[in-house]
């Protein structure tokens, strides 16, 4: 599919936030035939973060202002199956999940992209801060967004050539300030809307309360790296490898969670040095270009807004140039060549 605005039909996923509002407006200005869609993802109590009733209303009003059709797709069942249930299972299993990544993988660039294709749309667009680079040879790569502080390529690490060929990310070319300036220029109601920060389905009571209502919480022991019991905890789901706060253990120097063993409900704590690793194993490794091969001279990003660190990938083993604090199992590790996404995997 060539990227020419002339008559190309784009379905824009509008969350009701400023980025996707501006994405829709810019595509319209560029001459695309634009239709907006908002996903209803969560029928639970939270309804606060993104994709709540008021956000759907914001998206609908922006679409009306732009004069584009707008639809709402109810993906609550799929969201529960593909995002919420695995999230609960992961914490219960001592892992640290990445629900936004799973939502992008299964819903936005899964079910929604499928529907867009079924309905004959040429492209799916979102308000993510990342850039789709189309080379003259037809290859498509994902690059970091222009605004380094807002870059979201990490949560799109799973996009392969098939998805990228169908994807437009117009605000990735802009800084957040420029996005807001466009929203003001266009008089969009979402211009000064605050950013959503938290996991969208978590209620005010927070993660621990949410998990307590859904997962089997098993109390257990907190031990040091020698195996000596130093305390007790109410459930492994409340702990993440690397965590320092809320351990409930008073010892001389700072202690971190260095391991979570769900099978025995044991949380191991230690010094920062005990977290350092030269290598780590990844599972479900994917490559943006679809080719599987060892990669050298990469940078690895192990959290949504973390600093990238130098590494090389050999099979499923990631080797760091300098030892790094252990990455919590379940977290996404995104791999880059300069600012181009190479692929990624899940920490084990």
């Amino acid at each position: 599919v060539s990227v020419t605005p002339e008559s190309a039909r784009v379905l824009v996923a509008m969350s009701g936030g400023v980025d996707s509002s501006v994405a829709a407006a810019l595509l319209l200005e560029q001459g695309y035939d634009v239709t907006g869609v908002t996903l209803k993802l969560w029928g639970g109590e939270s309804d606060s973060g993104c994709c709540s009733v008021s956000d759907v209303e914001d998206a609908r009003r922006v679409a009306a202002q732009l004069g584009i059709p707008h639809y709402v797709f109810n993906f609550t069942e799929e969201f529960d199956t593909a995002v919420v249930a695995p999230y609960v299972d992961a914490y219960a299993d001592g892992r640290t999940p990445n629900p936004c990544v799973e939502c992008n993988r299964s819903l936005k660039f899964g079910r929604l992209l499928e529907r867009a294709e079924t309905l004959g749309f040429d492209f799916l667009a979102t308000g993510h801060h990342a850039r789709v680079e189309r080379a003259t040879d037809g290859s498509v790569r994902l690059r970091r967004g222009v605004d380094a502080a807002k870059d979201q390529s990490y949560v799109l690490y799973m996009l392969g050539p098939r998805e990228l060929a169908r994807t437009l990310l117009p605000v990735g070319e802009l800084t957040k300030a420029e996005v807001r300036a466009h929203a003001v220029r266009l008089g969009l109601r979402t211009a000064s809307k605050p950013e959503s920060m938290d996991v969208c389905f978590i209620t005010r009571g927070g993660r621990e309360e949410f998990l307590a209502g859904r997962a089997h919480v098993r109390a257990g022991a907190i031990v040091d790296t020698q195996g000596a019991t130093v305390g007790a905890h109410a459930g492994v789901a409340n702990f993440t490898v690397g965590q320092r706060r809320g351990l409930g253990v008073a010892v001389g120097e700072r202690r971190y969670v260095v391991d979570v063993d769900a099978a025995t409900a044991t949380v191991t704590i230690g010094r920062r040095d005990d977290l350092l690793r030269d290598t780590m194993e990844l599972r479900d490794v994917v490559f943006t270009d679809g080719r599987v091969s060892p990669r050298c001279a990469l940078t690895a990003q192990v959290r949504a807004h973390g600093e990238p660190v130098a590494a090389a990938l050999d099979g499923t083993t990631l080797c760091f140039d300098a030892p790094q604090p252990r990455v919590a199992p379940g977290q996404v590790v995104a791999l880059y060549d300069d600012d181009r996404l190479v692929g990624g995997g899940i920490a084990t």
Binding site: V56, V72, F73, N74, T76, E114, T118
Partner: protein, 135 residues
């Protein structure tokens, strides 16, 4: 009010005839089409049909783009479609409920409207089924 009351029986019969032609036409034109509800036990303007294997939400968009307004399930405050608890209570399988749409006819509906629907809907259903099979 009296004019409305006087015309009611005739209107109801006319609307029911349009509805019957619409539903019969769809069933004749599209394989694996089923009808929900008993015609003699529901309002004359209710045409409720399902197309096996087709997602109603997707079909509604395709129909809207072609100028045919339809609905599915019940709308919640966000405007999203919720699976109909009525269809569930009527014993319809979950998948069939999610493949069902509601075409509403009223006193302003004309024979020409039914012609348009009969022209648009079979093509849209066929297209979505083909795209779904290819995906």
């Amino acid at each position: 009010l009296r004019a409305t009351c006087d015309a009611r029986d005739a209107d109801t019969a006319r609307i029911a005839a349009l509805r019957d032609r619409l539903v019969d036409g769809l069933r004749a034109a599209i394989p694996d089409t089923f009808e929900n509800g008993d015609r003699s036990a529901k309002v004359a303007g209710n045409a409720h049909v399902g197309f096996t294997g087709v997602e109603a939400e997707t079909l509604l968009v395709a129909l809207d783009q072609a100028g045919v307004c339809a609905a599915a399930g019940s709308s919640c405050s966000s405007g999203a479609t919720e699976p109909s608890h009525v269809l569930a209570a009527m014993g319809l399988a979950h998948g069939d409920a999610l493949s069902s749409i509601r075409l509403s006819l009223g006193y302003a509906s004309t024979s020409a409207d039914v012609d348009v629907a009969l022209e648009v809907i079979p093509g849209a259903v066929t297209r979505l089924r083909r795209a779904g099979a290819a995906a």
